[in-house]
């Protein structure tokens, strides 16, 4: 029980109501203006809303750029590996092992980099702008390495 004169902390619903009393905030899902909302659901899409502590600047640009670079490298290596497997199985042709090696190693390497990038998302978003840009540029090394490995395999095979 509270001592006399001690105020009860406002609950989440009251705080949400007070927060939206004088603010033009839009629903994160449907974009509906929530100013003056009295409940805790969006009147338009009926999704439950909460107050959340977030970053002033979400800094997502570098993170998404890195994600695209790494995912494209993984896709290239993995699908090429799959292509060689299907092609050699169907045609009974002997595709040089060096291609399997290059694409297999590339697929594992780029997948590890992709998982690390996803895991380190918070750290990346917390870095300074210049460091984020450097990190995003560095991710392009992964598709470059995979591509070089494949070229190396093609040259060696010749």
């Amino acid at each position: 029980m509270n001592e006399p004169g001690q105020k009860n902390p406002p609950n989440d619903r009251d705080l949400l109501k007070a927060f939206l009393d004088r603010r033009d905030e839009s629903c994160p899902l449907c974009g509906y203006n929530l100013r003056g909302l009295t409940g805790s659901q969006c009147p338009e899409c009926a999704k439950a809303l909460v107050l959340r502590v977030g970053l002033e600047e979400p800094n997502l640009g570098a993170y998404v750029t890195g994600l695209i670079a790494l995912a494209s490298a993984t896709g290239f290596c993995f699908l090429m590996f799959l292509f060689f497997v299907i092609f050699s199985a169907k045609n009974n042709s002997s595709i040089p092992r060096v291609y399997f090696f290059a694409t297999g190693v590339g697929a594992v390497f780029s997948s590890i980099c992709l998982v690390c990038w996803i895991r380190l998302a918070r750290m990346i978003r917390g870095c300074s702008r210049s460091k984020r840009v450097v990190a995003a540029i560095a991710t392009f090394l992964v598709p470059l390495i995979c591509f070089t490995m494949f070229m190396w395999a093609a040259i060696n095979e010749k």
């Binding site: 406002p10 004088r22 905030e25 899902l29 439950a48 809303l49 977030g54 896709g75 918070r122």
Partner: protein, 161 residues
């Protein structure tokens, strides 16, 4: 002048709202994940990042959205890199342009399909986050058709040559 005054007012209100919210609540910093209960400024005392109080969904449903981007981009990466390989082959006179024409068309088609799917995915991001968990998983599974289509187009040309 008035604009800068109203901006500073909004900032002050935001800071007040944030400190009020965190006065009696155990919440973690979205950056360093340390407890920020009872902070008195708008910055995290541990990592110094600027914080803001904002409206969010009870469940953010963001994982499937990111998974879809990764899957679709992998298909795009395959088509782009293989096309680049073919261009390199033609430029270094390893391959003949007339022999590679069908492959280039197949890969170009793969790139167009992947780009359209990626744009659609980004546009429908909000709609997808509204769906139930089962439906979201189904849509992510459907997105796997994009890289598979790129691979199938490439395989088809190789077989029918």
């Amino acid at each position: 002048m008035n604009e800068s005054k109203s901006q500073s007012d909004v900032r002050a209100t935001n800071s007040e709202g944030l400190t009020d919210y965190l006065r009696d609540r155990d919440r973690s910093c979205p950056q360093c994940e340390k407890n920020i209960r009872g902070i008195t400024s708008q910055c995290c005392p541990h990592c110094g990042i600027e914080l803001i109080l904002r409206i969010g969904l009870d469940q953010s449903n963001f994982t499937s959205f990111i998974a879809g981007i990764i899957i679709i981009t992998s298909g795009l990466g395959f088509s782009v890199f293989v096309l680049f390989l073919l261009i390199c082959a033609v430029l270094t006179s390893i391959g003949n342009i007339s022999q590679l024409q069908q492959l280039v068309v197949a890969l170009g088609l793969g790139i167009v399909i992947s780009l359209v799917a990626l744009l659609l995915w980004l546009r429908l991001g909000r709609w997808m986050r509204c769906q139930t968990k089962g439906r979201r998983r189904f849509i992510v599974a459907l997105s796997m058709l994009v890289p598979l289509t790129s691979l199938a187009l490439f395989l088809m040309v190789r077989y029918f040559r």
